[in-house]
């Protein structure tokens, strides 16, 4: 079964479709888990996000628009759950989810330490992967989701806009700023790591 063309039958959503849905879990689970991990930054939260997303998808299968790919719908559910969690955390820790873009606070000249030849190396070392995740974790939630969906999941701007429920122009802006921030944070983290060793 192709998750992009999955068309659940409305009359047996909780009957025969259970087997089909099980198959979808196996097919879409990997992508969903990778996205959840990149959003949350740790295994436990990624597990929770994926579980909640699939359960919610299963419970609302009747409202799934059959003309759209299932994967996009699943990503959207997962992203919404993630934002709910972030908002809950932000509410209890007085952190604003809608913080102004970093560009408004700091100039890019200050953020970007310059070209790093090692960054272009073909092979990403294991410790570098951890740094990439740490760099992602420093991004505001919207930027993190945008670059993860574009550069790690390979989705188009149009699909990302659908998942994030925002215009394509906003997606373009978030991806661009997200990349700039990731690069700056990664270089900074690696420099700090080297100094501390």
């Amino acid at each position: 079964m192709n998750p992009r063309t999955f068309r659940p039958s409305g009359r047996n959503i909780h009957g025969d479709a259970a087997g089909d849905f099980s198959e979808l879990i196996r097919q879409c689970g990997e992508k969903a888990y990778n996205f959840a991990f990149r959003l949350s930054g740790n295994e436990q939260d990624a597990r929770d996000l994926v579980q909640k997303a699939f359960v919610r998808a299963w419970e609302h299968l009747g409202s799934f628009d059959r003309s759209r790919p299932f994967e996009t719908w699943l990503y959207k559910i997962l992203h919404n759950i993630f934002l709910d969690e972030v908002r809950r955390y932000a509410h209890s820790h007085t952190v604003s989810l809608d913080a102004p873009p970093p560009r408004e606070e700091t100039s890019w000249d200050e953020l970007l330490p310059g070209q790093d030849p090692e960054l272009d190396s073909k092979l990403l070392r294991r410790e570098d992967d951890e740094l990439v995740q740490k760099a992602l974790n420093t991004l505001p939630a919207h930027y993190r989701a945008a670059v993860a969906l574009c550069d790690m999941e390979g989705l188009s701007y149009e699909n990302i806009a659908e998942i994030m429920s925002c215009p394509v122009g906003t997606v373009r802006s978030r991806i661009h700023q997200g990349r700039e921030l990731v690069r700056a944070a990664f270089t900074q983290l690696r420099r700090t790591g080297v100094k501390s060793q």
């Binding site: 359960v55 272009d120 550069d151 991806i175 700039e180 990731v182």
Partner: protein, 160 residues
């Protein structure tokens, strides 16, 4: 179209998200502008850094766990989703216990007169005793409270 310094355009160009005409304009500008060429290289390396990060594999037990969870009847899943976390249960339990204690205390207070113990004469006697201990006996004047007390108990405590 203004391209110089428009990083979003360069990002979209890298992602192949521009139309043919726009893409050609950006390509020509990058070829001629060193600063935008550098910006393009920087954005490409950031994209590549993210794209090269290894994919995280879904833990095998998570699939089984999910299938097991979805196999449960709907009413059970709804019940599970309504179950509040421990972080809410503990303070809620403490609050409920406090409410019960307060309710029991008020209930006990209200129950006393119904058990046949007259509170008013006792309070009157207490007031009178307090007054007597502060004011000389010669200056005391008989009060209604004394009469009330006598009415309840049959005779005056002064006679003892």
């Amino acid at each position: 179209m203004r391209i110089h310094g428009e990083g979003e355009l360069i990002s979209a160009f890298i992602d192949g998200e521009l139309g043919a005409d726009e893409a050609a304009e950006v390509r020509d500008h990058i070829a001629a502008c060193a600063s935008c060429r550098e910006s393009c290289a920087s954005l490409r390396s950031a994209k590549s850094l993210l794209a090269r990060a290894p994919r995280r594999a879904m833990p095998p037990d998570l699939v089984a766990q999910l299938e097991g969870r979805l196999a449960r009847p709907l009413w059970r899943r709804v019940l599970d989703s309504l179950r509040p976390p421990v972080s809410i249960l503990v303070p809620a339990g403490a609050l409920a216990a406090a409410v019960l204690v307060v309710a029991a205390w008020f209930g006990a207070r209200r129950a006393l007169p119904e058990q046949g113990i007259p509170l008013e004469p006792l309070l009157a006697a207490h007031s009178r005793y307090t007054a007597e201990s502060l004011v000389p006996a010669s200056e005391l004047v008989a009060s209604n409270y004394s009469a009330q007390l006598n009415a309840y108990y049959g005779d005056s405590p002064d006679q003892e």
